[in-house]
Amino acid sequence: MTQLVWITLALPLIGVVLLSILGMKLPAKGAGWLASLIMLAAFLCAAVATIMLASRPEGDRQVVEVAWVWLTAGDFSVGLDLWFDELTAVMLLVITGIGFLIHVYSIGYMKDDPQSRRFMAYLNLFVFSMLVLVVSANLVLLLVGWGLVGLSSYLLIGFWHNKPKAIKAAKKAFIMNAIGDVGLALGIFLLFVDLGTVTYSGIFAGASELSETQASIACLLLLVGAVAKSAQLPLHTWLPDAMEGPTPISALIHAATMVTAGVYLIARMNPLFVHAPLVLDLIVIIGVVGLLMSGLIAIVQTDIKRIIAFSTMSQIAYMFVGVGLMAYWTGIFHLFTHAFFKALLFLGAGLVIHALHGEQDIRNMGGLRKQLPKVYFCMMIGALALSGIFPFSGGFSKDAILASGLHVDSPIGWIAYIGGLLGALLTGIYTFRLMFMVFHRRPSPYAEKVIPASVAHHGEGPSSMLWPVYILAVGAAVTGFLQIPGVTHLAFSWLDPIAPDGMVEATVGQDWLTTLFGTLIGLIGIAIAYHLYARESDAPERIRLGRGRLFQHALERRLYWDDLYSWAFERPAMWASAFLSRDIDRTAFRWAPLDGLGQLTAFFGRSFTVIENGIVRMYALVLALGIGALILFLLVRGG
């Protein structure tokens, strides 16, 4: 079983090496298929490993294996350790499964890009990094994976490196992630100082000995890492900009896998977080604020991918709420379903963009329902799942989170519940604003001009792009059935063992009640969106220019977060460097005595050229004379 996990881990790495070595020797399509097949093999390995894990008796599903110890210093030792349990299995399946579909999609998407081989190699590298992150059994190896996904994310956002905006976005993502990495690293240091170990098993065993303060600080630091990687408040600003990268990347990294690493981290470290209740409450609050804020911002965005990006933020905020309420399974469950429907939406958006020759502004779309019926159908499933409409998958997982809030029955629980329901309203509005503006409405002049020719040319898209979308649509529709309250119980019972201290699970009644509310509110949101955006209404424009002007402006500026960071960090740094270069460098170091230093150096340089004249024979002569003199000296002295 563990062999299979090792193989799963190794396959993408082999892919990276192969693609890098073979490079241009491979045909572009061949490279794509090679990478995809590797991913398929990895997925199969992961699936078989999961089945084998499932066939073990419950309670014996946690496998730790040390391949070798690669770093030892005193009593600190880090090994290439593997941790395979129910949570890892879920992550492996999501990463390799969704990863495989997106690899296939990329073959079609990157068909015309001369550098598609490099893209495929990066994709494989990303998958490898993510796998390292989830299979590691100690925090250091996790940090390795953590950093590697940051790197591959950087490479992939900046894949079109002749686009200045993409480069900027890549740098932004990298810096934000680096802040998180620092937090995570500090947390690891602190845990090592407190507990003397970095392995999960050691930390879990020692967690109960920590004082609440110690645990809280450690968890807070880990939370910094999680927040940065998962694009939560206040380190969220990189995610919308990351949409400058190719769309498959948005789907794989910035929706399905990497950004959920924070949720994974918290769920994984739950035996530690249990001892820091304040941090857990903080997580819930971050989640609630984040989901409302990003939901609001999403309503005013006009770039199709950015809308989905803000929606991703808000959905991950839901997951944070779930894990913050100690209902870890709901967070992971939502992670699982979200991977399907969000990847679906992104890939669908990619198809739309593809059909419109790169146009991403939804105001330039409209009426695509008739020309792209398959894409419309699939995206509609995704949108319904995202809005949490029963019986699509998102409904079950999101309502499970909210029901947990109801079940906890504390102020925090109520905040989560009410905030989550409000978020559902926003979700319905922004999701269907997108759907209506893209697919319903009267077509914009641009769409009218471009679409017919485009559809006539290659239909709705190449089959390598369509099939992943179909499969994801099926997944988005049915994965919720894993946990139908009172009927099936798979998500909870599978994930229950990962939390030794127990998890929150709502009762069946609470669940159904929440589902009823959630669906109703989602439908209300859809109705509002229909009223405002499906018909040719001037209501949005009135709001934009009328009473909501200031609020609208604030939302369009994304609540001024970017401006805040610019004022707080960027401007002072620019000012300081300008001061240093203009006032210090140019004046202070140009003073005469300092210039004399340069002259002095030049003088010494010139005077040594007499000996260092480049004639090798002279060097050899001096060498020989030196040897002769040395031996003579030894002879005379030693006798």
Partner: protein
């Protein structure tokens, strides 16, 4: 065996010095390389002589390794000479005194 170790060492030293003179005085890279070979060979003789005195094969191994390295050195040196010829440069080490890189 009536010839003593010192004789071998003395011959080796003389050969070494002759080679050294060649390296120091000649300007053609080819002749310098040839003189270097003389020096290397004299060292080989020393190594083998000491090996004989001790009765182990270590010195002979060293000599063999020196030969291998000498072959490598000659390959690079001759490659340089060929490259210089191709670029119509003068085959004179005294002219090769400016770095350009």
């Amino acid at each position: 065996m009536t010839v003593g170790l010192p004789l071998f060492l003395a011959i080796s030293a003389i050969l070494f010095s002759i080679g050294l003179v060649g390296v120091l005085l000649r300007r053609s890279p080819l002749t310098i390389l040839l003189s270097l070979e003389v020096m290397l060979n004299s060292v080989n003789l020393t190594l083998v002589a000491f090996s004989r005195e001790v009765g182990g094969s270590d010195g002979q191994i060293f000599a063999l390794i020196v030969m291998g390295i000498a072959a490598a050195e000659v390959v690079v040196g001759l490659g340089l000479v060929v490259a210089m010829t191709r670029r119509e440069m003068v085959l004179d080490t005294d002219e090769l005194r400016t770095l350009n890189g």
